[in-house]
């Protein structure tokens, strides 16, 4: 509780900060140069260029474009009058302006502008000549798919917004900008479609972003943890994507998107639990196949969480439920194992986790060795040595495979981890323990919210009109309404009859 109070205090103090508190620009040239050097701590890449006619240029050469400075600024200012007005008139840069305060110009210098001081004037001319260090657009690595656009966001906020604007050529696409992080001053953008997104949702997200008081935001995955509803929950409540088409689909459904400068992932909100098991490709393939794939993913999530635990419970407490034809092979491979089923299962699960964690951090060339070590040495030898039973190897392999079908990496991690408490419960209390674990998970999920909306929608609370596009997908003509989840201002996407014609 006391955290919130502290936050509010800081917010108030920030608001109180008056424009009049800011420092005015020194009029004299020498004072100005000295002030700049002091403020930027005599940085090695700080360039101060004094021209003959009384103008002074200040910029950081590591983040500015040398060619632009030479051609569009320096060359044009050579024979200019030493006044801000004349300097502004002559320079040939699209984004330029006048500034009055020292804090502002420091900010501009650090963002890659050149500033021009005229001796005797308290006004500065600023021109943006920054370079955009940025890799070219690539294919999505984490959300790759066969059909659909093969384009991913990159680390530049401007490029990412331009990608979204390319998809949504729409004046209603609103872009609100924030700066977060006392040390990093990262740029944050909040995007939404004005005539679709619910104003309350946008306001909620806006407030949450404004309330944040941290020293740095390096990636949107950090921001997610700061804006989500319940940071103690094990399930992520906001989804991130690297696909511009997915971000646009969210905006079109009335969701808000949050972009962070320097991050390839875009945050979407609000989201329901079942959207973690959807992929953009579901929209590209035919509805029967999409339905099958979505059901398969839900099924594999259940398999992945419960399969090993059921094995442990059945072998430890409930031998009655094992089919008789399976009893003898199961019993025979178990009779060589010296541990109880719970240890056997935990041992093998941890082995798989070791393999997976080792593989995730290794370069690809070494990674091939991992496959051999994992598959042959651990798999086959463990059974031969009487360490684990054959059938458990199959079960663990299937549940590991099933956990990879989740299209979202964050959710995949959660599914991996959830197995362990359930195996423990199954090993100590059998199916009763499993039932308690399942109920706990369900209650936990029901309690969660995503930007103030129910996390298990459209199943809890039941919103039948949203069911056609949930864990199943009906033909497009049936899914012509935006989901209730986002409380969209305009619920109808298109008229069914017209679209059929």
């Amino acid at each position: 509780m006391f955290f919130k109070k502290k936050k509010a205090d800081i917010l108030n103090s920030m608001n109180k900060k008056n424009l009049d508190d800011m420092e005015l620009i020194p009029v004299k040239k020498e004072d100005f140069i000295q002030r700049m050097k002091d403020l930027l701590h005599h940085s090695a890449d700080l360039h101060i260029k004094e021209l003959q006619n009384g103008l002074t240029l200040v910029y950081v050469d590591t983040i500015t474009d040398n060619k632009m400075i030479n051609e569009d600024v320096l060359a044009r200012l050579e024979d200019a009058q030493p006044t801000p007005d004349d300097a502004l008139k002559r320079i040939n840069v699209g984004s330029s302006g006048k500034l009055k305060y020292v804090e502002e110009i420091i900010d501009k210098i650090l963002k890659g502008s050149v500033i021009i001081h005229s001796d005797g004037y308290p006004i500065i001319v600023e021109a943006a000549v920054g370079t955009q260090e940025n890799r070219s657009l690539t294919r999505p690595e984490n959300e790759s798919q066969v059909l659909g656009p093969q384009l991913a966001f990159n680390e530049s906020l401007a490029t990412n917004i331009s990608l979204i604007r390319r998809y949504l050529t729409n004046p209603n696409l609103c872009n609100e900008s924030f700066t977060l992080g006392k040390q990093t001053n990262s740029g944050i953008s909040l995007l939404y479609l004005k005539d679709i997104a619910d104003e309350e949702m946008v306001e909620r997200m806006r407030k949450r972003i404004q309330k944040i008081d941290v020293d740095s935001i390096l990636d949107s995955s950090t921001l997610v943890q700061l804006v989500e509803d319940n940071s103690l929950a094990i399930f992520p409540q906001l989804l991130m994507t690297e696909r511009p088409d997915r971000a646009c689909a969210w905006l079109l459904n009335g969701k808000v998107a949050v972009l962070v400068d320097g991050s390839v992932q875009v945050i979407g909100a609000p989201l329901s639990f079942f959207e973690f098991f959807q992929s953009m490709e579901d929209e590209s393939v035919r509805w029967q196949i999409a339905t099958f794939l979505r059901l398969l993913r839900i099924f594999s999530m259940i398999v992945s969480i419960f399969f090993t635990a059921i094995y442990v419970a059945a072998l430890t407490f409930h031998y009655e439920i094992i089919p008789q034809t399976l009893l003898i092979p199961l019993g025979e491979s178990r009779s060589l194992v010296p541990f109880p089923p719970i240890f056997e299962a935990l041992l093998l699960e941890i082995m798989i986790e070791l393999l997976r964690e080792a593989g995730a951090r290794l370069p690809t060339k070494v990674g091939q060795t991992m496959g051999i070590v994992g598959g042959i040495v651990v798999g086959t030898a463990a059974v031969d040595a009487g360490f684990t039973s054959n059938i458990l190897i199959i079960i663990i392999a299937v549940s590991a495979l099933a956990s990879f079908t989740t299209p979202n990496y964050m959710m995949g991690n959660v599914i991996r981890i959830l197995r362990f408490p359930l195996i423990l419960l199954a090993g100590f209390w059998g199916f009763y323990g499993l039932m308690i674990g399942f109920c706990f998970l369900l209650i936990h999920l029901i309690k969660q919210e995503s930007l103030g909306t129910p996390f298990l929608a459209p199943f809890y609370p039941p919103r039948f009109s949203d069911w056609p596009d949930s864990i199943i997908r009906f033909p497009l003509a049936w899914t012509n309404k935006r989901p209730h989840l986002t409380r969209p201002r305009d619920r109808i996407k298109f008229q069914t009859r017209k679209s059929k014609e």
């Binding site: 407490f317 031998y319 009779s335």
Partner: protein, 375 residues
């Protein structure tokens, strides 16, 4: 807030540490009983024979047979535990066998014990053994490796294949506790390393009073089961048929029929005279006939239908008379009576007396739909 957190921690610790674990029944440490057989010894005790699954890759055979004598079946289990390296558990029980003597004395004590054990499946098959179950289960069998699996699969196959009436633990207990119907159990017999289902035991309340053969068991199934009965071989006299070749074949005309669909409908006509009407509709296809009869001729098929219908009618009447003679009601006529008469106040004793005097008019509507398709 910190206080509640501490309390919660203490509570969860208590839940985890004080309660302890459930009693584990790890698979490989359990002796899994798959078949149990009950005999009566000369001194009136119960001799229990059990078959255990042997889970050991190096064992010569994958089952173990143990026999113990005790006053009760659970008492026998306790004694058998002393002979077994693994704790005996009956959760995988598939078949319970009773020798004829046991069923003649009364089945219910043993069946009730089985029914009250929650680990025993309600779908366990019950069967009567002609002779001693001990001998049957101990018999060395050269043809099949595992006798318990053999008995289970044989019963399962024939019950699912609609040859004999079903006799699971649940159905038997249901029929026992219903006043107007008696349970039936298949009879099996072991001979020369083979196991054969030779018929069905007629039971009055829980005591065996007679037996019917496999063909009569088919009729019983035809009457009781509403939708489908299996295949049957019928013998009728060849009089009146015109055969295409005058070969001197067997004396009787044998016809094998396969039921496509059947319906039986029993109604109480008069509650004072205890008159029942039993309508049986049967649609069949002809699988085989042992003499050369031209089946393309509709007249022949009509005649065949008529004769087979008459044969069935007399067979069913014979079966009912046989059951009435021993006061066993496997058809559930008592349930029909109770359903049709208000305030019948039927008790088992009352009904068994009434049942012997009731009359049943059998009507058979018999039809051969196809003669061409042969399975």
């Amino acid at each position: 807030m910190r206080k509640t957190a501490t309390k919660l921690m203490a509570l969860s610790l208590a839940v985890f540490l004080i309660t302890g674990c459930a009693e584990p029944k790890t698979l490989e440490r359990m002796g899994l009983i798959t078949t149990v057989g009950y005999d009566v010894t000369e001194d009136g005790k119960i001799s229990t024979t059990i078959i255990l699954l042997q889970i050991d890759p190096e064992a010569p055979q994958d089952f173990v047979v143990l026999t113990t004598k005790a006053a009760t079946s659970k008492g026998a289990r306790i004694k058998t535990d002393l002979k077994s390296p693994k704790k005996l558990q009956s959760g995988q029980l598939r078949v319970a066998l009773f020798s004829e003597e046991v069923v003649k004395l009364g089945l219910i004590n043993l069946a009730d014990t089985l029914a009250r054990d929650p680990s025993i499946s309600d779908l366990t098959y019950l069967a009567v053994v002609e002779g001693s179950t001990k001998e049957l289960l101990h018999a060395k069998n050269a043809k099949f490796s595992n006798i318990s699996q053999l008995i289970y699969k044989q019963l399962d196959q024939n019950i699912k294949g609609e040859t004999i009436p079903s006799s699971t633990l649940q159905e038997t207990m249901h029929d026992y506790y219903s006043d107007g119907v008696d349970p039936v159990l298949p009879i099996i017999k072991g001979a020369d390393g083979e196991i054969e289902i030779i018929g069905v035991a007629l039971i009055k309340r829980d005591k065996m009073v007679g037996k019917i053969n496999a063909q009569e068991a088919f009729y019983l199934k035809l009457i009781n089961d509403r939708y489908k009965a299996g295949s049957i071989e019928l013998m009728i006299s060849p009089e009146g048929f015109k055969f295409t070749s005058n070969s001197s074949g067997p004396d009787d005309l044998a016809v094998v029929l396969d039921t496509i669909s059947s319906r039986s409908d029993i109604n109480l006509i008069s509650k004072d005279n205890l008159d029942f009407e039993m309508k049986i509709q049967l649609k069949t296809r002809l699988l085989e006939i042992n003499q050369a009869l031209d089946l393309k001729n509709p007249k022949n098929v009509k005649m065949l239908e008529k004769k087979l219908g008459e044969k069935m009618k007399s067979d069913i009447e014979g079966l009912i008379a046989k059951a009435q003679a021993v006061e066993s009601d496997p058809f559930g006529l008592g349930e029909i009576y109770r359903k049709s008469v208000r305030h019948a106040d039927l008790t088992s004793d009352k009904w068994h007396k009434m049942y012997a005097e009731s009359k049943v008019n059998v009507k058979v509507e018999f039809e051969i739909l196809r003669t061409g398709v042969v399975e």
